[in-house]
């Protein structure tokens, strides 16, 4: 696997913070027999090198009133795809949009308060110049997040 090499402590810090970014540095230090300062310096270095961008909390949009989450599969004229993605990114409710390679030309993920809002959002994308079709898939039940499944670079 390409990418930078980490030592065992770097990997342990990232693994701990992947599962719970608020893990105490002292707990990581104790588990690995190093000082708290060492853990802090290592994590600072991982951020400085760009490998760790930041820490964040994972929120459930439904608990914030955004009841409907959906992925929108978009097909569009080849020359319009970039514009379609930019347009989608600017729409209220769209939380991610990218061009893709495969059966569709672009994928957007959106979260709205109601099904009507989602339907209106889909129509707005559908009406944009160059868009041929938009198919929505509503995310049912809970979605499962697995940030721990990232493979880290091999340890030195």
């Amino acid at each position: 696997m390409p990418g930078p090499r980490l030592d065992a402590l770097d990997a342990a810090i990232l693994r701990a913070l992947q599962l719970d970014a608020r893990t105490k540095y002292s707990d990581i230090a104790q588990a690995h027999g190093v000082s708290v300062d060492t853990v802090i310096k290592r994590f600072r270095r991982l951020k400085r090198t760009g490998l760790a961008r930041r820490t964040t909390v994972l929120l459930d949009p439904r608990r914030l009133g955004l009841e409907i989450v959906a992925s929108l599969a978009i097909t569009a004229d080849p020359g319009a795809i970039r514009d379609v993605v930019e347009h989608a990114r600017g729409l209220n409710g769209v939380i991610f949009a990218t061009h893709t390679m495969g059966q569709i030309d672009a994928l957007a993920i959106a979260a709205t308060h109601t099904m009507n809002e989602m339907s209106a959002l889909k129509d707005t994308i559908q009406r944009h110049r160059g868009v041929k079709d938009v198919k929505a898939s509503i995310w049912a039940d809970q979605f499962l997040l697995c940030p721990q499944n990232f493979e880290l670079p091999p340890e030195e």
Partner: protein, 150 residues
């Protein structure tokens, strides 16, 4: 949601390690009050966890992919079981049941085209999977950093 809840979410979204004391000072409230609000946000499921956002390109991922999965309708086939298998697979970072053309959507991070093809074959081989289609996109983008991460 109170103003303090909103402030807690805003600060922790930017940096999950922000201290409660710092948020308390900014809000003009006690640290205990901030902790109580945070605990409530966790108990209510608003905050589902926290993680470190990795630069996917730096750790060797060239892109990401969405796998649309169709589950078999035969007796004994279980989309829930497929979901459980998916979330145990390396590089799958989100899985959800969907209502629409397909039964399940899985998002994955991808090292290269060969890895993309292998992962597709592994998903297709999960018991109960009837078929898959997929789409790939390049780059180390964060997907919806407020809600879930790539």
């Amino acid at each position: 949601m109170s103003e303090l809840d909103a402030l807690i979410l805003e600060r922790l979204t930017c940096d999950a390690r922000t201290s409660f004391r710092q948020i308390a000072a900014e809000a003009g409230r006690s640290t205990d009050t901030v902790i109580n609000h945070y605990d409530r946000l966790v108990a209510d499921g608003v905050i589902r966890g926290s993680t470190v956002v990795l630069d996917t390109a730096t750790i060797g991922y060239e892109g990401a992919a969405a796998f649309n999965i169709d589950a078999a309708t035969a007796e004994g086939a279980s989309p829930a079981a497929i979901m459980q298998t998916l979330i145990g697979m390396p590089n799958i970072i989100l899985a959800t049941r969907t209502v629409g053309e397909h039964d399940i959507l899985a998002l994955a991070v991808i090292h290269d085209i060969g890895h993309y093809a292998r992962l597709g074959r592994e998903i297709a081989a999960i018991p109960g999977v009837r078929g898959i289609s997929s789409n790939l996109w390049p780059g180390g983008q964060e997907i919806c950093p407020r809600y879930f991460i790539i």
